[in-house]
């Protein structure tokens, strides 16, 4: 779960890190009021769940209430990198003396949490680190280890931070790390952390991602207003309980594993077929889940055929077959469906699938399923 900027900043406040003065608005008419509350020059920032919004025109300054309202009207009408603007963060314009980078993520390689600091921040951080690797301070910690302020102070020694600034930066870093652990985060990034000319240290941006699998124990986040991050179909997929990504082709694809799904996409592409989506069921297949998945795939419109690639390991092929049959009998009457199903209880499943009028592959060969699919499509084209 990825937070919008304003939600991320609320979270930073919660853990004791300062952010610029700001007001969130949902309509252009609220902009001048927000300006008055802040009481100085502002920037209006489109709240969209994607990076690069600055270059896409999603961040604009305003020096007076009237301009603020005009800018807000303009932004609320926009679509930024595919996302409609539904909220704006109206924030004090910052008088920046210096920018810093701080970020924490999980190094899946080692299974450690990795804290990173750079004495420069901003959009070019990756370039800076590539060119001047010595400017990156990196501390890795096993789950059993805490990151303590003194380690950060030691690590920042000689990097040009002194007196209170050193103490404050170390404290911010320790608070971030502590929160990262406590709140089951997968990313916590402040870029840039700004030293302002008036002496304040504020997080000018906030990137916060929470482990979806840990939301059950993270009430703060599970109670947050759900962000309109995904395509509505991806959201529906979440409710059904499957992973779903929209692609731009015309073949519906359902697979019972991520690896198998990726492999099937590769093979389809090799054969010039274009999947309309990537839908992976995971290990919890029921008849209903398959039925719902087929409905979801078809909702996309313009679907020429569906390929269902299944193994019966932890998944029940019988459940899957029943789901296909139900869909066939109600809403998926006409679309060609190719099903490859092998594994535990395959014979029973084949029987059900045969009665459902789908094209059946009874061996493990995904390549054969794709050959069959191609054949069906070309027959269809020929009429």
């Amino acid at each position: 779960m990825r937070l919008l900027e304003y939600q991320g900043k609320d979270f930073l406040k919660l853990i004791g890190i300062d952010v610029p003065e700001g007001v969130v608005i949902s309509a252009p008419s609220e902009a001048s009021g927000a300006f008055e509350r802040i009481g100085k020059k502002v920037v209006l920032k489109a709240q969209v769940p994607i990076g690069g919004r600055g270059k896409a025109g999603g961040i604009k300054p305003a020096d007076d209430p009237k301009t603020a309202q005009e800018v807000a009207s303009e932004l609320f009408g926009k679509e930024i990198r595919g996302f409609k603007v539904k909220k704006l963060l109206v924030e004090e314009a910052l008088d920046i003396a210096r920018e810093i980078y701080m970020g924490i993520t999980i190094d899946t390689r080692s299974g450690k949490r990795t804290f990173m600091f750079c004495d420069a921040g901003g959009m070019d951080i990756e370039e800076i680190v590539k060119l001047f690797p010595e400017r990156l301070v990196r501390i890795d910690k096993y789950p059993s280890e805490a990151l303590r302020e003194y380690e950060i102070r030691s690590a920042l020694r000689g990097k040009g931070f002194e007196r209170e600034l050193l103490v404050k930066l170390s404290h911010i870093a320790a608070s971030m790390f502590d929160a990262f652990v406590r709140y089951d985060l997968t990313i916590l990034e402040i870029n840039p952390l700004c030293l302002l000319k008036d002496g304040r240290i504020v997080a000018a941006d906030a990137k916060v991602e929470v482990d979806d699998n840990a939301l059950f124990r993270q009430e703060y986040f599970s109670k947050l207003e759900k962000v309109d991050v995904e395509d509505y179909m991806e959201r529906e997929a979440k409710e059904i309980g499957v992973s779903y990504v929209v692609l731009d082709g015309d073949i519906g694809l359902i697979s019972s594993g991520a690896g198998l799904g990726m492999y099937t996409v590769d093979l389809m592409a090799d054969e010039g077929l274009r999947p309309a989506n990537f839908l992976e069921t995971g290990g919890g297949i029921t008849a209903k889940l398959i039925n719902d998945s087929i409905r979801l795939v078809l909702r996309r419109g313009n679907i020429k055929a569906i390929l269902i690639n299944l193994y019966g390991g932890v998944n029940s092929l019988i459940e899957a077959a029943n789901g296909v049959k139900q869909a066939r009998e109600s809403f998926a009457k006409d679309v060609p469906i190719v099903v490859k199903a092998v594994g535990n209880q395959q014979e029973e499943a084949w029987e059900i699938l045969s009665s459902a009028g789908v094209h059946l592959i009874k061996t493990f060969h995904t390549e054969k399923a794709i050959d069959l699919l191609k054949e069906i499509l070309s027959q269809k084209e020929r009429g």
Binding site: G51, Y101, G103, I104, T105, I106, D107, T108, R109, G111, K112, R113, T114, M116, I125, E126, L136, P143, S144, V181, D184, T186, I187, E189, N191, K207, E209, D211, N213, A214, F216, R217, V245, L247, S255, S256, G257, A258, G259, L260, M262, Y263, V265, D266, L267, A269, D270, F278, G282, Y311, G313, V314, V342, G343, N344, Q346, F364, H365, T366, E367
Partner: protein, 287 residues
């Protein structure tokens, strides 16, 4: 004779009374696996397909000299189940559940490695040594005894690759799912070393996928291995995954893409298969 799961393996099932745990226990038994006991707290005295159930792992170790476990716990309880197995002295822990919090997976990995425990998963199909037994959820009919070791990040693809190996008469010594989660107990490199030491394995197939760097990290082992290694990466043309922020990008560097993996693996001496169907052909050449 095989790695990890051998004729000496004496296993339990944690979460044996659950819906999935019980049916999978049946299938493991039918495959000939030595499942000596099961554990579900509060259910001691029951049996599942003839297997006696206990309240805690320690008692099963004390009674039956158990040395492996297959865990079917809900995701939030997986960590405790793993720690219970490790504390009871079990050295092979197969963690089936998906959706385990990554922080828990990290703790499990740290403890398992410190204690010398081989932990497969989370989100693993487990390990099968065809003809010997299976600890996990893979369909037994997809595998045949043979001389090729298989290491896979994906369960389903390990079934598919075994299909090709069987078709062409190779079969598998052991098929090991390290787990599909970002953080797992063992790395591809760990399993490669086991296969290299195993007398019954003549070649190893790595079924990788895009993301992470487990494949790249295996290159040092591949370089010093005596046995041929064939590598396949799924997701060559898959849509790019989520970016893990600048921090993720900095850590990841150049690793993670299919290109990176294939280049590094080939450079280390692995033969590259672009389709699974190519694997048997390559095997014929190298064996």
């Amino acid at each position: 004779m095989a790695i990890l799961l051998t004729y000496e393996t004496r296993a339990i099932v944690q979460g044996i009374t659950g819906r999935v745990g019980s049916i999978q226990t049946r299938w493991m038994l039918e495959y000939g696996t030595k499942i000596l006991a099961g554990v579900t707290p509060g259910r001691k005295g029951e049996t599942v397909y003839g297997v006696p159930v206990f309240d805690d792992v320690k008692e099963t170790v004390e009674r039956f000299g158990v040395n492996a476990t297959v865990i079917f716990a809900p995701p939030f309880a997986a960590k405790d189940a793993v720690f219970e197995a490790i504390d009871a002295g079990i050295k092979l822990v197969v963690v089936i559940p998906e959706h385990v919090p990554i922080a828990d997976a990290m703790e499990m990995r740290e403890v398992a490695r410190k204690r010398g425990v081989v932990m497969l998963g989370p989100t693993t199909p487990g390990v099968i040594s065809p003809g010997v037994g299976k600890l996990g959820i893979m369909p037994g009919n997809m595998f045949k005894p043979g001389k090729v070791g298989v290491i896979s990040r994906s369960g389903t693809l390990s079934y598919e690759v075994s299909g090709y190996l069987n078709d062409e008469g190779f079969g598998e010594s052991s098929v090991v799912g390290i787990g599909a989660d970002p953080v797992t107990g063992v790395d591809i490199a760990d399993i490669l070393e086991m296969f290299d030491r195993d007398n019954d394995t003549e070649a190893v197939v790595i079924v990788g996928e895009i993301g992470g760097s487990r494949e790249e990290d295996a290159s040092a082992v591949i370089r010093r291995m005596r046995k041929p290694v064939i590598a396949f990466i799924a997701g060559r043309l898959a849509p790019p995954g989520k970016r893990m922020g600048h921090a993720g990008a900095i850590i990841q560097g150049e690793t993670g893409s299919a290109d990176s993996k294939l280049r590094v693996l080939e450079d280390a001496g692995a033969k590259i298969a672009f389709k699974l169907s190519e694997i048997p052909k390559i095997l014929r050449k190298v064996l």
